[in-house]
């Protein structure tokens, strides 16, 4: 017993130092040298100022921007406190939230999308994401928003669609995952378009 206790105490100290401090320190050093941008959180800078991360959604409410999916974090799109919404499939609050989100989309998009009905809204547009900071929307939801953004920005719809396609992450290696439109990068591309 005493013998096990002594061995354990030594092993705990040794393993904590090796696996808990030395290893992460070396690994972080390597990461900072080899992949510094990714290792720091894939931050995007404009004129030297950090405007976000390509891996985190941020709030967009203005009509000239593409909007991300709903978020359950507090406040929404809090990349410092990620969370699921945790509403079960039969929870009445889920029905209420989906309906509220769908009506808001119809109200916002209909002026630019005559004849838009609830059946045209893709499901990712009205459901919270897993992380609360899903940086992407489906190509279908981007397509739905494209006429509004084009009209507000006085850009040809074709140009907006081109930008959507430029900022769509296809499947990794061509077949892993699902196509996803990065909202922040798309909006940054649109802002650049306006200023040029």
């Amino acid at each position: 017993m005493l013998r096990d206790l002594r061995s354990s105490a030594i092993a705990v100290v040794v393993l904590t130092l090796l696996f808990g401090l030395a290893l992460p320190a070396l690994f972080t050093g390597f990461a900072q040298v080899a992949f510094s941008s990714q290792a720091d959180g894939s931050l995007i800078k404009v004129h030297g100022q950090v405007v976000g991360s390509r891996l985190a959604a941020q709030a967009f409410t203005r009509p000239k921007y593409f909007h991300p999916r709903p978020s359950a974090t507090a406040p929404p799109y809090n990349a410092g406190a990620t969370t699921f919404a945790n509403l079960g499939p039969t929870n009445p609050d889920l029905a209420k939230n989906v309906r509220t989100a769908a009506l808001a989309i119809l109200k916002l998009e209909r002026p630019f999308n005559p004849g838009l009905t609830i059946g045209d809204i893709p499901v990712d547009a009205v459901t919270t994401s897993g992380s609360g900071i899903d940086p992407a929307i489906s190509p279908a939801y981007a397509e739905l928003q494209a006429p509004r953004v084009a009209a507000v920005r006085h850009l040809p719809l074709a140009r907006v669609r081109e930008l959507i396609s430029d900022n769509t992450d296809g499947r990794s290696l061509g077949f892993l995952g699902e196509p996803a439109v990065n909202v922040l990068e798309l909006n940054l591309a649109l802002d650049r378009e306006g200023s040029s």
Binding site: M1, R3, R6, S8, I10, A11, V12, V14, L21, F27, A34, D40, G41, S42, V50, V51, G52, S53, L55, A56, Q58, A59, F60, Y65, A72, Y77, N78, G80, A81, T82, T83, F84, N86, L87, G88, P89, L94, A95, V98, I118, G119, D120, P122, V123, A125, T127, S129, G130, S131, D134, S138, P139, Y141, S172, L173, F175, L176, G177, E178, D191
Partner: protein, 566 residues
């Protein structure tokens, strides 16, 4: 479900087998006494001297168990202390305070038992020191302990007329340095290259395009995520786990992370086959696991693609195609879609990983029943690193025993006679945890303090409670995450975590101890063959009859009621 989704899953299965088979053969070599890496043997010898052991000093099952228990208890104390004191320690750039006692207690039990249930909220509760030198160390070590115990148990089958099962410190050291460490480094580097952070800098603050301020949590993430996936741990750096893009940025990382969940558990089946010189039998065990896996996925995937009642009634478009993956996208991420989230949910609950890439509370009724039943089987369909296969041995012995009863003959397994004592250990190992789960879930839904944790109304709320205790007792760690932490649920859960880990672990070691001393009898015409498809059918049948029937009544109160309601 389109060909695209199914193709991704088929590739998954092929890659899993292609990687786990050679890894299993390598692992069998690592644990052999003669194994030596010349340029590292000085370090290895140094470690053995430090912990005052010698490579060839072997232990019987009682001594081995004692080392496992004492080691786990000492680590328990250290991990608890780190969390409580983190506010006063270094590597805390965001100035987080000490973790509250009931949360720290549950989290400590959770990580020492290889569960990684998260009552805490990763990025906003734990300092970098707690994450890295506390939790991530346990992710290596608790996995290493499970792997060591499995090897000891296998030696019980492979040795004859012996009392010894190996040396715990040697098995632990080799699991850590020759298996978990190199795999984690490889996976970690790939993850960083794809965008998983690895930094000591505190959170970043962004000034968003619309002029708001956004906090972006980061830290030493990549290495922790690698071992979290490979060691069937599951406790993420971030609260929303591998759904968060910083843990899992794209389709490639998702694929590698979900492969990593099952990689070592699957490899251990092949390792076992090599160690006991019964490769055909190992393939049959693998096949039984694979069959259950495939059936589970075949239920979960269409359920999620079909969507929930609420989403179907809402009128929005949930049909796959035309630029969306459709289905039940609630609490799921666009870049993974339905196929990859359903695959992950199935894999993570068959291994005792519990990491998630989408919220399980929001799964459809039947889509959520699959993870629940997977866990209730005792985490033996591949299962946790080490614990999965030693858990499976309980079912294998029961299967062999039943076959023996049918032909009226003392059953044998791998040449060893299986007698009353072995069957008692196997029965305890197989039945203790499910019995405990049902009792604890029942208590938690009839007591006032238990009910406070429930978040969703109706049948789903009951499923939350059932899921919580099934997950903790089987050391999975995934959650219907609406289920809240109260001091009652955290303390009660701690009991589930500890007994769920150590009762089967001790039963397995006792079983191995009782087998190691036996002689090997020659195979005769009356021996039930464990290297053919009949065995696969019998084994799957036994799992369904024992654990499946135990949970069925509870399923009717939870997911089945919910699935039938509108």
């Amino acid at each position: 479900m389109t060909g695209q989704g199914i193709a991704q899953i088929l590739v998954y299965a092929v890659v899993l087998i292609a990687l786990s088979y050679p890894l299993g053969l390598y692992m069998a070599r690592v644990y052999a006494p003669a194994f030596r890496v010349r340029w590292l043997s000085g370090v290895e010898g140094g470690f053995y001297r430090l912990v005052r052991t010698e490579q060839n000093r072997e232990q019987d099952w009682k001594s081995y168990s004692k080392s496992v228990l004492v080691f786990s208890i000492v680590f328990f104390g250290v991990l608890y202390a780190i969390q409580r004191l983190q506010g006063h320690l270094f590597l805390n750039p965001d100035h987080l305070q000490g973790v509250p006692s009931h949360i720290a207690l549950n989290t400590t039990a959770s990580f020492v038992t290889n569960t990684n249930w998260q009552y805490y909220g990763g990025e906003y509760t734990m300092s970098y020191l707690s994450q890295m030198a506390g939790l991530a160390v346990q992710q290596f070590v608790s996995a290493g302990v499970g792997m060591a115990v499995l090897v000891a148990v296998i030696r019980g089958f492979s040795r004859r007329s012996s009392q010894e099962l190996g040396n715990f410190w040697v098995d632990l050291y080799r699991s850590l340095t020759y298996i978990l460490l190199p795999l984690s480094l490889v996976l970690g580097v790939i993850l960083i290259s794809q965008g998983v952070p690895q930094t000591f800098a505190g959170h970043a603050t962004a000034h968003t395009l619309e002029g708001a301020s956004q906090t972006i949590a980061r830290g030493p993430v990549a290495l922790m995520i690698a071992i979290k996936q490979l060691g069937t741990n599951g406790g993420g750096f971030y609260n929303a786990n591998s759904a968060v893009p910083f843990e899992n940025p794209n389709g490639l990382t998702n694929f590698l992370e979900v492969i990593s969940i099952l990689l070592i558990p699957a490899a251990q089946v092949f390792m076992f086959g090599k160690m006991v010189l019964a490769r055909r039998h190992a393939w049959m065990v693998f096949s039984a696991m694979f069959v259950v896996f495939a059936v589970a996925l075949a239920i979960a995937l269409p359920s999620e693609q079909h969507g929930s009642q609420t989403l179907r009634a809402s009128g929005v478009n949930i049909t796959q195609g035309h630029g969306q993956s459709g289905g039940n996208m609630a609490d799921k991420e666009v870049r993974f879609g339905i196929a990859n989230t359903a695959l992950w949910a199935t894999a993570t609950t068959e291994a005792s990983s519990g990491s998630v890439n989408g919220g399980h509370d929001a799964l459809t009724a039947y889509g959520g029943a699959v993870p629940l039943v997977n866990m209730f089987f005792g985490e033996v369909i591949f299962g946790g690193v080490g614990s999965g296969l030693y858990g499976m041995f309980f079912y294998i012995l029961i299967a062999v025993f039943i076959a023996g009863l049918m032909v009226g003959r003392t059953p044998e397994y791998l040449g060893k006679k299986i007698e009353a004592r072995q069957i008692k250990y196997a029965a305890v190992g197989a039945l203790f945890v499910p019995t405990m789960v049902l009792i604890m879930a029942a208590v938690s839904v009839v007591t006032k303090s238990g009910l406070e944790s429930i978040f969703n109304p109706g049948a789903h709320g009951f499923t939350e409670a059932l899921y919580a205790y099934t997950s903790q007792a089987n050391n999975n760690g995934s959650a219907f995450a609406g289920y809240g932490a109260t001091s009652f649920s955290a303390t009660f859960g701690t009991v589930a975590l500890i007994f769920g880990r150590f009762a089967p672990l001790l039963a397995a070691l006792a079983l191995a101890g009782s087998l190691a001393g036996k002689k090997v009898a020659p195979v005769s015409a009356g021996t039930f063959r464990t290297d053919g498809p009949t065995f696969v059918v019998l084994l799957v049948g036994v799992i369904i009859l024992t654990a499946g029937l135990m949970i069925f009544p509870a399923l009717t109160l939870g997911p089945i009621v919910e699935g039938l309601s509108h």
